[in-house]
């Protein structure tokens, strides 16, 4: 009697994520969503001040490829204690650059659980869901969840007219897509 070959297990779907920290809180973001990682110090001089009442989490914008990216202070966005912010994530396909404190590590998640329905306020826009890494729950942020369309319009309107400012080319790390 010949036994059939054992069924090949389906390859596990995974997603590369970056774990990062803001005011002591760890978050995750898909590494595919992060176009660049830049030092916040390296932005000095390459940013424009933006001041829109009601959008205190954005105080600066940076020029990037003909567009302005708005630098969102992660601590202010999430309502965490203020922190200095050492790094900036330039988020792919958004107008957002996210100010964070530090990168913890890059890792892989195999399962993303939708945010439980009990969470029913702004956090539903902030997070794609939750993942568990080594028995620790980490929220996975949504790159589009930092600024609404209306906020972007208000921020754009508050920007000074286009100057002949040089596009900032200071130290950066390009992440593969």
């Amino acid at each position: 009697m010949r036994l059939g070959l054992p069924a090949k297990p389906a390859p596990q779907r995974t997603e590369q994520i970056i774990l990062f920290r803001i005011s002591g809180q760890v978050f995750a973001i898909s590494s595919a969503s992060v176009k660049e990682v830049r030092g916040a110090d390296g932005l000095a001089g390459g940013t424009t001040e933006v001041n829109v009442p009601g959008i205190r989490k954005v105080q600066e914008a940076m020029r990037r490829g003909g567009n302005s990216l708005f630098i969102v202070n992660g601590a202010a966005h999430f309502g965490l204690p203020a922190s200095q912010g050492a790094l900036v994530f330039v988020l792919r396909k958004t107008r957002t650059a996210l100010l964070i404190d530090a990168i913890e590590k890059m890792t892989t998640m195999t399962r993303l659980q939708a945010l439980p329905l009990s969470f029913c306020h702004e956090e539903r826009k902030w997070y794609r869901g939750l993942t568990a890494l080594d028995q620790v729950v980490v929220p996975v942020v949504h790159p589009d969840g930092f600024l609404t369309t209306e906020e972007i319009q208000l921020l754009e309107a508050a920007l000074p007219p286009l100057e002949n400012s040089l596009e900032d080319t200071s130290s950066e790390t390009q992440l593969p897509q």
Binding site: F78, S118, F119, C120
Partner: protein, 159 residues
């Protein structure tokens, strides 16, 4: 007790929050578990403390004590994992409780229009009249979801 009378009885789980006892329909209870680490992360939903990890599932922890008794509970002995309905979808929610829970059979008396929304009915047990909780009104989620915060499906990671 006649058969007819027995048919009127339903099962409830009695839970304790501080000095008071409340009841939840036994059909809405999944399990009773020991306290475990609550994972907290930023959010804006009142009453929700965070989530606990239970057999790979992340279950929101909803402290209902303050709404029901006016006081937050400091001592928690167990989590009552209840099934909370969101329209056609059910999800688990962990309710911190301060004492042992008890399974009883009792007759449910309907809530009156003057009762608080979280009161789903009343039952009489051991000389006490006890509120039967309406979890849909007590725990967050219902009104916001119906207002259009689209519920997301649990999903496996897409490469």
């Amino acid at each position: 007790m006649t058969v007819a009378a027995e048919l009127e009885l339903k099962s409830f789980v009695l839970l304790r929050l501080g000095e008071r006892r409340f009841a939840v329909a036994a059909t809405q209870i999944a399990e009773l578990v020991a306290p475990s680490r609550v994972f907290r992360f930023p959010h804006r939903t009142p009453k929700i403390e965070g989530v606990i990890l239970r057999r790979g599932r992340m279950i929101p922890v909803c402290d209902v004590a303050e709404s029901l008794t006016g006081k937050r509970i400091t001592e928690r002995r167990l989590y009552l994992i209840a099934v909370r309905s969101y329209g056609a979808k059910n999800e688990w929610v962990a309710l911190p409780v301060t004492g042992e829970c008890e399974l009883i059979n009792a007759e449910l008396m309907d809530a009156s229009p003057s009762d608080e929304p979280h009161v789903g009915g009343w039952l009489s047990h051991g000389g006490d009249v006890i509120e039967v909780l309406n979890l849909e009104a007590l725990t967050p989620g219902s009104e916001e979801v119906s207002r259009g915060a689209a519920p997301q499906k649990s999903l496996e990671v897409q490469p």
